[in-house]
Every structure is written in C-alpha cells, then in structure tokens.
C-alpha cells in the first residue's frame, strides 16, 4: 500500500509533464489537423534553453532560487515559443494547401532538424543538473517504508494546475480562444467572419511550444538529466496521451497524460522497467483500435 502510494505520486508527476506536452499536440491537431511530429523536440529544446538560462543566471550571481526559477521559466517559455513559431512559419505554413501527407513528412524532417541541431550545438553527451529544489515532506511511514512527497513534485503538479487554469481561461474567455475554437470548426468560415486564421494558427503553435517548454523545464528539474534525444520518446508518449484522452480535447490531453504517466510508473514498479515504453506504445495501438475517439473525444464523421 505504501509502495503503491509512492508510485501513485510519482506517476501523477510524470503524467503532469506528459499532459503539458500533450496539450500542444491536441491543440495543433484540433486546428490544423496534423500531427506536429516536431513537438517532442520542441519540448527537448525547451529543456535545453532552461538549462542554459539557469547556468547563466547562477553564474551572474543570483542566489535566490525562486527568482532564478521564475526567470528561467519565463526565458525558456519565450524562446521556445519563438522556436514553435519559426517551425510553423518555415515548415508548415507553406504546406497548408498541400496534400495531407506533406505536413506530416515535413514535421518528421523538422523533428530530425531540431534534435540534431541540439546535438550539434550542445553535444551528444547527457547533461546532468545538480538538484536545485531539495527537501520534501514525509507523508507517512510504515514498517520502515517512507512515502515521500518532495518539493519538486509539488512544484511540478502545482505549476501544471496553474498553467492549465490559465490556459483553459484563455481558450474559454478570450478573443484568441474564441478565434481558435472558430478555426477548429471551420477555417474558411472563420476567415470570412474576420478571424485572422494565419495568426491564430501561429498563436496555437506558440502556446503549445510555451507549454512544452514548461514541461521541458520540469523534466529537467525533476530528473536532473537532459539529452538531445529525449524528445522523440517523450513526444510519442505525449501523443499517445493526447489520443487516449481524445484528440482535440484539452481536458482529455491532461487526463490522457496522467493516465499514461500512471501506467508507465506502475508498469515499471510492478512488472519491468525495460518494457515500460512498449507498454505505452501498446496502449496507443489498443486505444486507437477499440476507442479511436479517445476518452473525451468527439467521433469523426466520415464524409464522402
């Protein structure tokens, strides 16, 4: 039971990170109808930017950790958002009228570009980060087994919840959110009614990239290591989360992320950690076969 509780906590934290990435997939799929294959690598870039910004701030003499983290968060979100914008501008926008395979292949190419760019620019070796946020609380103790909730875990979950709240408000209440929902339903009609479709799609990529940057930073703080290749597997898992929750649905992405995080953690804890990725990918296949619309998704009507 104690072991279970500890794994539950770990799984929820991991799931929050997946959920943040999954939102980027689900938004882009909802509006543009493409799998943004490069999104996992945007997440990786976000982690790298956070790492470099952190190093610079520390060497500038800043010592107050909350301020450093806030600044790192802002820098990472801003720069990674620009990456998202640039990727859309270069690789996807020219292809919007092209045949359906084109953006997908272009995205695969972009994914290679980003991961190898990080490799060339920052080297192939794994980058370790010293634990920045230490300490935590002991929830309960039983027969010598301690169930702990560390501060970083709290920070990851709280940040995710706050961002999710801000983001839900953005989509539900602001002009931009309304534009996004309009584009999701019908781009032509939205354009006729005065919605700037290009700008809305750009903003979708920007927001998705910013959230992925947060996920990248949380990953960095939580695991303490980062490498150029981590975007691929994390990306597929986050996409799995988006599909599991029902692609196009925001609460679905978060729910899917949490489920994937929990499944992966419990699989590692009770079966084998080698096959945890196999478990995640198998879930993707099983969900798509038996529940193609996901848990919270709307069924797609096939039109002739």
């Amino acid at each position: 039971m104690d072991y279970f509780a500890q794994q539950l906590i770990n799984g929820l934290v991991l799931g929050s990170i997946y959920g943040l990435i999954a939102i980027g997939y689900t938004m882009v799929y909802g509006i543009v109808g493409m799998i943004n294959f490069a999104h996992g690598d945007i997440f990786m870039i976000g982690g790298f930017i956070a790492l470099i910004a952190f190093l610079i701030l520390v060497s500038l003499g800043l010592t107050f950790v909350p301020v450093i983290l806030l600044l790192v968060l802002l820098v990472s979100m801003a720069v990674t958002a620009l990456y998202g914008w640039t990727v859309e501008r270069i690789a996807y926008r020219p292809l919007r009228q092209s045949f359906r395979l084109a953006p997908m292949l272009s995205a695969i190419g972009m994914s290679f570009v980003l991961s190898n760019y990080a490799q060339v620019a920052q080297g192939a070796r794994v980058k370790p980060v010293p634990p920045v946020i230490t300490g935590g609380y002991t929830l309960f103790e039983n027969d010598g087994f301690v169930v702990r909730l560390s501060n970083i875990q709290i920070i990851v979950v709280v940040t995710t919840v706050i961002l999710l709240a801000i983001f839900s408000w953005l989509v539900a209440r602001t002009r931009l959110g309304r534009d996004m929902r309009a584009c999701e339903q019908d781009q032509t009609m939205a354009a006729l009614l005065g919605v700037d479709v290009d700008r809305t799609i750009s903003m979708t990529f920007v927001i998705g990239a910013a959230l992925a940057a947060v996920a990248g930073m949380m990953y960095l703080l939580y695991y303490g290591v980062i490498d150029f290749f981590m975007g691929f597997i994390a990306g597929i898992k986050a996409f799995t989360a988006a599909v599991l929750g029902g692609i196009g649905s925001l609460p679905g992405a978060m729910l899917g992320g949490l489920l994937i995080g929990l499944i992966e953690t419990f699989w590692s804890a009770y079966f084998s950690s080698e096959y945890k990725d196999v478990a995640a990918f198998s879930i993707l296949i099983v969900v798509l076969i038996f529940l193609p619309t996901g848990l919270l998704g709307r069924p797609e009507v096939e039109k002739v």
């Binding site: 799929y29 493409m34 799998i35 870039i45 790298f48 930017i49 790492l51 910004a53 190093l55 610079i56 720069v79 620009l82 990456y83 640039t86 270069i90 690789a91 292809l95 092209s98 045949f99 359906r100 395979l101 084109a102 953006p103 997908m104 292949l105 272009s106 695969i108 190419g109 972009m110 290679f112 570009v113 190898n116 760019y117 990080a118 490799q119 620019a121 920052q122 080297g123 070796r125 980058k127 370790p128 980060v129 010293p130 700037d196 290009d198 700008r199 691929f232 597929i236 599909v243 096959y275 990725d277 196999v278 990918f281 993707l284 296949i285 798509l288 076969i289 193609p292 096939e302 002739v304």
Partner: protein, 465 residues
C-alpha cells in the same frame, strides 16, 4: 483590402516587395529571430565537467556568423524570389525537363539496368564503390517494397523498418541455431524439437522463410490498423516499429540485446561457400581466392532481389489485387461501394510490402555478419519513406533514382557525420515545400478512363481521396 496583420500584404502597402527597404526589413526581422533562437543554444555551449558539474563557455563568434548567414541568406532568397517573378511555385525540375524525362524513361530504365549489371565489372578493384552499390541497391529494394504499401495502396507506414528487422533477426537466429522442426518418435515424449543445421544452404533456405515471417508480421500489424486512416495509421505503424525495436533491445537471451548477434553466416553460391578452403568456389574453379568474390556475389544477390521486387510489383499492378490497391489509394469509400474487399486489399498490401522488407533484412544480416537493434531505428524508416516520397510515390524508376540520390547524398556527408541528419531533415522539409509530389514525378493509376481527369496520385490522401 489588406488585412492588418497579414505581414506580406502589410509590407506591400509600406514598401513594394522587391524594393530595397522591403528586403532589408524582412532580412532584419529574420536576423533578429535567428539571434533570439540561437543566442542561448549556439552562443552558449554546456558540457558536463570533470567532476560531474556543468560548465559552460561562450561562442559569440559562431553566433554572429550564423545570424549574419541568416541575414544575408534571407536577402539572397528575397532577391531570387524577385528575380524569378511573382510566381509562388519554385520548381526544382522544370516542367519541360519533366515531360522529357518521362519520354526518356523508356530508355533510362534499361540503361540503368545495364549499368547496374556492369558495376562489379567496372569497379571490380574499388571495394568502396561495390559496397556503396550494395547499399544503394538495398535501399532501392526497401523503397520498392515500401512503395507497394505507401505508393500503391496509399497506406502511410512509418514502421517499415520493423519488417526489415524481423527479416534480419529471423535469418540470423535461424541460421545460427538451425531450422527447428518437430521430430516424432515412438518413445516418450513422442515429439521433440530438433534443429536442422543448414550448412552452406542456410541463406537460400532461410531467405524465403525470413520473407514469409516478415509477411506474417505485416498481416499482424495490418489487422489492428484496418480501420485507421491517415495520420493515425502513420502513428500506429511508428509505434509498432518502436515496439519491435524495443523488444529486440530488451529480450536479451534471444536477441542478444544491445550487443546484437555476431557471426551471422555468410551467403553461398547455391551451396558453394565463398571461402578460402578446398570446397570453396575459388578452389573449385581453380582461380585465386579473393575476398572481392563475395562482395560481387552480394552485389548480384541484392540486384536480383531488387529486380524481383520490381518485377512482382509491376506484375501485381496488372492483377485485380494491384488495381484494387490503386483504387484504395484513390478513394476508400468508392472502393468499398464497388464491392472491393478493403480488408484483404489492405492486408495483402501490408504483407507483400513486409515480405520484401523481410528479404532485404535477411540480405542485410548476411551482408553485415552482425546485426543489432541500432540498425533498425525510426531514422531508417524515415529514410526509406523519404526515398519513396522523393521518388514520387508509385513511380518505380523514381524510387530507384531517389535511392541513388539519397544514399549518394548521405555518402557526400560522410566526413560531416554529425550534420548528416540535420541536412537530411532540412532536405525533407524543403522537398515538401518545393516538390511535394517528388522530384521525378508521380505515377498515374495503371488504368483510367480514356479521358484522363485529375484523378491521380495527386489526390492521394492515404486511403481517403
């Protein structure tokens, strides 16, 4: 009237495109974006220091050079765009050349074939060229195999490398352990599993078996994805490919895990080994033994396998099943309403494509003598898919030329190993922007009405045109 936020039109009002002010403004914006993008990633280099702590140093020179390159590059692009005129579509291969190319195809294919047959004669002394030829032909074969699934049936498969891996591991494991069979006996336990050592015939017996096993896996993948389309299909096949790779990586006691399998048996010339022994080919023919003999054999082997793939594809296209594949690619709903069984059509496409992948895998294993999961990553799938797309999805000659261009291009970057995938990814993006239908041109369906309309692979939407 110009919309306020449309940058292109907005700047048209301020400065006409092509004017110096417009170009400079655009280039400054690009350079500024590049500065922000690269400032941290390029300007600062991090590395784990000797004590495990992170150290960093700055590279402002590189950063400045890159930003300058973006600035002048975007000036150059704007100038070229202005020079080419208002036409938005920049075509790498001019239409006239394209139509002439299709006229040339009639002669190009036999010429290429004759050249391929002569390669071992011309380059007999140059081992490097022979190896490169084998590599190119392997990808030609993989491209043609994947072409059945993607080009003909219109099913986007991102996990093709899984079948390549199945073929390679099937061959390596069966050749090393022998072919299992059941032996019946009258004494208890009546049935036992024996392993038949195939000796010198290993490759020739196991090649079809590897192909059949891969085809079986193709069916296995095909069943669950029958209902999926487009992007979903792509992502499921990708996941399938990764699952196969992860299992190969983690199932240590069978596959050897990350260490792979070493000492995979080499091929023989129909039972005659190409070794420096008394029963080897060289000794039997009474000529001096040379390691090149085996390379030449491998070359002709993969050429034959690739041509087999091509021949089967061309023949299948004329059969009802091939027509059904093309119909499926153009429109699945119409296909179904015409009474075509989409289930068997899709499954046969997957199985046939996978079978050739399996053949290529068995060949790969026997050529390398060593296989490990490293060789079967997603990058391989993407490379083969890029070859098919570059070749124009469906055009046999196009795929062959694309494989030559792609692998040849990769070889050019051999010295710059770390930039290879960067360039490959960039090329894929540019290709999609400039020539989404491939460099060589696309293939129209084998049969169409006398008055050909725009129905062609141009409307391919992975099964729902």
């Amino acid at each position: 009237m110009a919309r306020p936020t449309d940058t292109a039109r907005e700047s048209k009002a301020a400065a006409a495109p092509g004017s110096v002010a417009f170009i400079l403004k655009k280039s400054f914006i690009s350079a500024f974006v590049a500065l922000v993008l690269f400032s941290l990633m390029i300007g600062v280099r991090t590395e784990a220091g000797p004590a495990g702590q992170l150290i960093y140093w700055t590279r402002f020179g590189d950063l400045a050079a890159l930003v300058a390159a973006v600035f002048f590059g975007s000036i150059a692009i704007e100038l070229i765009r202005g020079w080419l005129g208002p036409s938005r579509r920049v075509s790498l291969v001019p239409e006239t050349l394209n139509s002439r190319l299709s006229g040339l195809q009639r002669f190009l294919a036999p010429a290429l074939l004759v050249f391929a047959l002569l390669v071992p004669v011309i380059f007999y002394e140059q081992r490097y060229m022979l190896d490169l030829g084998i590599l190119v032909l392997t990808y030609v074969m993989l491209g043609w195999g994947l072409n059945i699934v993607v080009g003909l049936a219109g099913l986007l498969d991102l996990g093709y490398v899984a079948f390549y891996a199945v073929g390679a591991y099937a061959y390596a494991l069966l050749a090393q352990n022998g072919l299992p069979f059941l032996e019946f006996s009258t004494a208890s336990p009546f049935v036992s599993i024996q392993f038949l050592d195939l000796g010198n015939w290993a490759f020739w017996v196991l090649l079809p078996i590897s192909g059949i096993l891969a085809a079986f896996w193709g069916m296995l993948l095909g069943f669950p994805v029958l209902r999926l389309k487009g992007d979903y299909l792509a992502i499921v096949t990708l996941a399938f490919g990764e699952i196969i790779r992860l299992v190969l990586l983690n199932w240590q006691n069978v596959t050897g895990g990350p260490n792979g399998i070493t000492g995979v048996p080499r091929p023989s010339l129909f039972g005659i080994p190409l070794t420096n022994t008394d029963d080897g080919l060289a000794a039997r023919l009474g000529i001096e033994f040379s390691a090149t003999h085996r390379v030449v054999l491998l070359f002709y082997l993969i050429l034959a396998l690739a041509l087999l793939t091509n021949w089967v594809t061309i023949r299948l296209r004329r059969l009802p099943i091939g027509r059904a594949w093309e119909a499926l690619r153009e429109d699945e709903v119409a296909c179904r309403s015409l009474g075509i069984n989409t289930t068997t059509t899709k499954l046969t496409a997957f199985a046939t494509g996978a079978m050739f992948g399996g053949f290529a895998g068995a060949f790969f294993a026997t050529r390398q003598g060593f296989i490990s999961p490293e060789s079967f990553t997603f990058q391989e799938s993407a490379l083969v898919l890029a070859i098919v797309v570059l070749g124009g999805m469906g055009s046999q000659l196009g795929v062959a030329l694309a494989a030559v261009a792609m692998i040849g291009g990769f070889e050019l970057f051999r010295g710059l190993e770390q930039f290879r995938m960067l360039v490959f990814g960039g090329a894929m993006v540019l290709l999609m922007i400039w020539r989404p239908r491939g460099l060589i041109g696309h293939r129209a369906p084998s049969v169409y009405l006398e008055k050909p309309t725009e129905i062609s692979s141009a409307m391919v939407k992975e099964g729902h045109g």
